[in-house]
């Protein structure tokens, strides 16, 4: 991927977020999928913000994957993504991952879904 830097990042993580240390929302999980909305980055955005928007213009990725491709710590990536969600530059792809739903009762996937996974995994055997 050409837009990713080779070697070490040139600026420390805390500057990438413009000095902000906590996400503006506490509901971001590493498996939340996000995608660019098409709104171009604003002048106040850092180069890292711009790289996130540009990466996610091609399609949706989870926050974990976004962090890995751009070599960011997941926690830093969450701060940046939450800023970009606030600004309308990114949007969350639904549905939210099972197990990450706010309802405590939905803490685990349903037995039905697991049964489909089991059958689907068997089908993947060669």
């Amino acid at each position: 991927m050409s837009r990713s830097p080779q070697g070490r990042r040139m600026i420390p993580s805390y500057l990438a977020t413009r000095g902000i240390g906590t996400p503006t929302r506490n509901t971001l999980h590493s498996l939340m999928a996000v995608v660019a909305t098409g709104l171009p980055p604003a002048p106040h955005h850092t180069p890292v913000h711009q790289r996130i928007v540009s990466l996610l213009t091609g399609g949706a990725l989870t926050i974990s994957e976004t962090a890995a491709y751009l070599r960011l710590q997941t926690s830093v990536c969450k701060v940046l993504v939450s800023q970009l969600l606030d600004g309308g530059h990114l949007q969350v792809r639904v549905p939210a991952p099972v197990g990450l739903l706010p309802d405590a009762g939905a803490d685990r996937p349903s037995k039905e879904l697991l049964e489909e996974v089991l059958s689907g995994l068997r089908a993947l055997r060669q």
Partner: protein, 205 residues
């Protein structure tokens, strides 16, 4: 390492357009047990990793005097992960390599968050090293299966002997697995999924 670690970053493999659920499964075990191998075997994307920083809260739990790290206040830990789409179930599984030592406890908060279960890898030459990770998983209330990764020089115990050595609950699946082989590693994941179904059944009844 054919992951992002080697100079050139891989091309991003975007998520499928179609609706799908994402589920997180931990692949846990001590260092060098084959976690990354198992993830690479199953993953449809080149294995990715994120560097997570752990602060000094963790260091006190570990004896750092041996490796000259006394006084070090942050540690960077690379977490490998991969992705396996199960089209029939419209599910994308995320497999997270999770270090098994207690000193990584602060990272567990994030890594284990939202995980539906764990596959614990063990090696018959050093079973005791898997106890720590089994304890960590049990403390978090996660269900797990144990897969004994077969190495050429590993002693060949029967599964019954291994079960007793590992002091496993009789319901916890115990399988052997060659982390380099796709079917064998899939079988371990299948054993875990069957166990999660059984546990879901117990809880709802």
């Amino acid at each position: 390492m054919d992951s992002a670690r080697s100079g050139s970053s891989p091309r991003p493999v975007y998520l499928p357009e179609a609706d799908h659920q994402r589920l997180k499964i931990l692949v846990a075990g001590p260092l060098g047990i084959g976690k990354t191998t198992a993830i690479r075997t199953l993953s449809e994307i080149p294995t990715l990793h994120t560097d997570e920083v752990m602060t000094d809260a963790a260091a006190s739990a570990d004896d750092l005097t041996l490796d000259g790290l006394r006084g070090k206040t942050t540690t960077t830990v690379a977490i490998d992960f991969g992705r396996l789409t199960v089209p029939q179930a419209k599910v994308v599984l995320y497999l997270y390599g999770t270090p098994g030592q207690r000193r990584f406890l602060p990272l567990w908060e994030d890594i284990a968050d939202g995980a539906i279960g764990a596959l614990v890898l063990a090696d018959t030459r050093r079973l005791d090293q898997s106890f720590e990770v089994m304890d960590l998983i049990e403390e978090r209330g996660l269900d797990y299966a144990v897969a004994v990764n077969t190495f050429p020089t590993s002693p060949d115990y029967t599964l019954d002997t291994l079960r007793s050595k590992l002091d496993l609950d009789e319901r916890t699946p115990l399988v052997t697995c060659d982390a380099r082989d796709k079917n064998s590693t899939l079988d371990a994941l299948i054993a875990l999924t069957a166990h999660l179904i059984a546990r879901a059944g117990e809880e709802s009844s």
